[in-house]
């Protein structure tokens, strides 16, 4: 386990030095810029928009990191052959994969913490000058702790996407991995529609494929509670727990597959 931890720390350090910082700066600029622009709009409306925008941006920027760091996690090491001296150390290939995954999760976590703080700070300044009577009429308070529920689910979503990217990264090039991962992500967004594909298409083959995709691919729409949270609708703890278990199942299966493939791979 020590070996996996070392790899995880190395991944975290590399991504911090390379990309994540710029990502965060961009996020902060975007959010602050948007809040200034929206300052002109009706009070109450801008808070909702900032929440929506903030959560969407958190999800999108996290997705960038998950995919573009994720696809390189293994393939870059193999391509540049830094994997040779590494695997000659006392480390199992499974530990290598686990470490890579954990490292990126850690990076994403740090990223999300900073983004969440940024959202709350912007919301605080936005709501500061608005009288309390008006604020109580809103669907949800400005500094709504329920935002964290949405952020938690976004994080789970990214954990699954990272596992998909890592899985592809163990055997294909970064370019292909990116395309595959993005493909899985996009199809996963509309997963629920695949189940009812027969309502719009006649071809039995297409319906069968859609059904197969529905059962195999993760349903990413389950992780999206942005709308509910922004409008102050409840998101139950049970829902969070079930969705977390759902994500864990996918992550476990994908990591298992990644280890299986990577453990059999010949280098040279």
């Amino acid at each position: 386990m020590n070996a996996a931890r070392c790899v995880a720390i190395a991944v975290f350090r590399e991504s911090v030095r390379d990309k994540v910082f710029y990502n965060l700066v961009l996020f902060a600029v975007l959010l602050v810029g948007a809040s200034i622009l929206l300052g002109q709009l009706t009070a109450g409306q801008d808070v909702k928009i900032i929440k929506d925008l903030g959560l969407a941006a958190t999800s999108l920027f996290g997705l960038f990191i998950a995919i573009f760091v994720g696809i390189n996690l293994v393939s870059k090491e193999v391509e540049r052959r830094s994997v040779y001296p590494l695997l000659a150390k006392p480390i199992r290939r499974a530990e290598f994969i686990a470490g890579k995954y954990a490292g990126l999760l850690l990076t994403l976590l740090a990223n999300m913490v900073v983004m969440s703080v940024a959202i709350y700070v912007v919301l605080y300044f936005l709501a500061r000058n608005i009288p309390m009577q008006i604020q109580t009429a809103w669907d949800a308070p400005a500094l709504d702790p329920a935002l964290l529920k949405a952020i938690f689910l976004i994080y789970l979503n990214l954990a699954v996407v990272t596992a998909v990217a890592l899985f592809f990264s163990t055997y294909s090039s970064p370019m292909l991995s990116a395309i595959f991962t993005l493909g899985v992500y996009v199809v996963g967004q509309f997963n629920a529609d695949l189940k009812h594909f027969d309502r719009i298409v006649d071809s039995p083959a297409a319906i069968a494929i859609a059904r197969a995709c529905y059962y195999v691919l993760p349903d990413f729409s389950k992780f999206d509670v942005k709308l509910a949270v922004v409008h102050g609708l409840p998101v139950s703890g049970t829902y969070l727990a079930v969705t977390a278990a759902y994500a864990a199942l996918y992550v476990a299966a994908l990591l298992f597959g990644a280890v299986l493939i990577f453990s059999r791979r010949d280098f040279k």
Binding site: R13, E14, R81, S82, Y84, P85, A88, P90, I91, R264
Partner: protein
């Protein structure tokens, strides 16, 4: 190292199957043209590998600077590896290969990319490690390196083991001839010995190389020529070099493959 898996058979190292991860604590490995992480410094890289070897913090604090010193990596150790030249990377590679004080060390083309000074340093390091009783397994296309360093060699041609064993057992250690270099040889003396030599060749100045067969009795010739007024520059027995051995064995493999 389990970077490639065998199609059949099994191998052991230090008495353990090669698949045993824990045995790698006692092994050092330098890949050919090593590449490490651009964003790390040499120190950080060794620290990372030191942790993977399970070295304690105090141990790492002591071993890492000592190893970098030994490989001649000075102030550059705090620079990102992306700024390193090929030769410097090779030194870093050697540093990581000996960091864990390994019993067995595998070096794949350790001299490649090094300048003459670097090669001398690496040769000295290898001899030092040998004298400490470590086993070094290294591959090279530079046969003179292998000849001057190895106690045992193996020649691999077309993926097949063409020869293996002690150099002294593989080489034709019998004298293949004598190479005598003389200066100031009078012309008539030169004519007299020409028939007995395989070859007489003029080199710089008034010097001549006289190539004698194995039974050419160099002592007699020396006496005769010095009596005629010539002076001795050198006398050397000619033995098969590793290069000749290599060419011979590889040709044999080639013939075997065609037959």
């Amino acid at each position: 190292m389990q970077l490639v898996f065998p199609t059949s058979g099994a191998a052991e190292i230090l008495g353990r199957p090669v698949g045993d991860v824990s045995v790698r604590r006692r092994i050092g490995y330098l890949p050919e043209n090593p590449y490490f992480y651009d964003h790390l410094t040499a120190e950080e890289l060794l620290d990372y590998y030191g942790r993977l070897f399970g070295m304690a913090a105090a141990d790492r604090r002591q071993r890492i600077p000592a190893t970098l010193d030994r490989l001649g990596i000075g102030a550059e150790r705090r620079m990102a590896l992306r700024k390193f030249s090929k030769g410097m990377l090779q030194r870093v590679g050697l540093a990581q290969a000996v960091l864990n004080d390994p019993e067995v060390i595998f070096l794949d083309e350790p001299m490649s990319g090094l300048d003459p000074l670097g090669r001398r340093d690496v040769r000295a390091l290898m001899l030092e490690l040998r004298d400490q009783g470590r086993t070094i397994f290294f591959s090279s296309h530079i046969l003179s390196d292998a000849e001057s360093l190895c106690s045992q060699v193996a020649i691999v041609a077309k993926g097949q083991l063409a020869a293996a064993g002690r150099l002294s057992d593989l080489q034709h250690f019998a004298v293949l001839g004598w190479e005598l270099v003389m200066a100031g040889v009078p012309a008539e003396a030169l004519e007299r010995i020409r028939a007995r030599a395989r070859r007489v060749q003029s080199i710089a100045g008034d010097r001549y190389v006289i190539d004698l067969p194995p039974d050419g009795k160099p002592e007699e010739m020396l006496r005769e020529l010095t009596a005629a007024g010539a002076t001795v520059v050198s006398l050397n027995p000619v033995r098969e070099t590793l290069e000749e051995l290599f060419v011979r064995r590889v040709a044999e493999v080639g013939k075997g493959a065609r037959a």
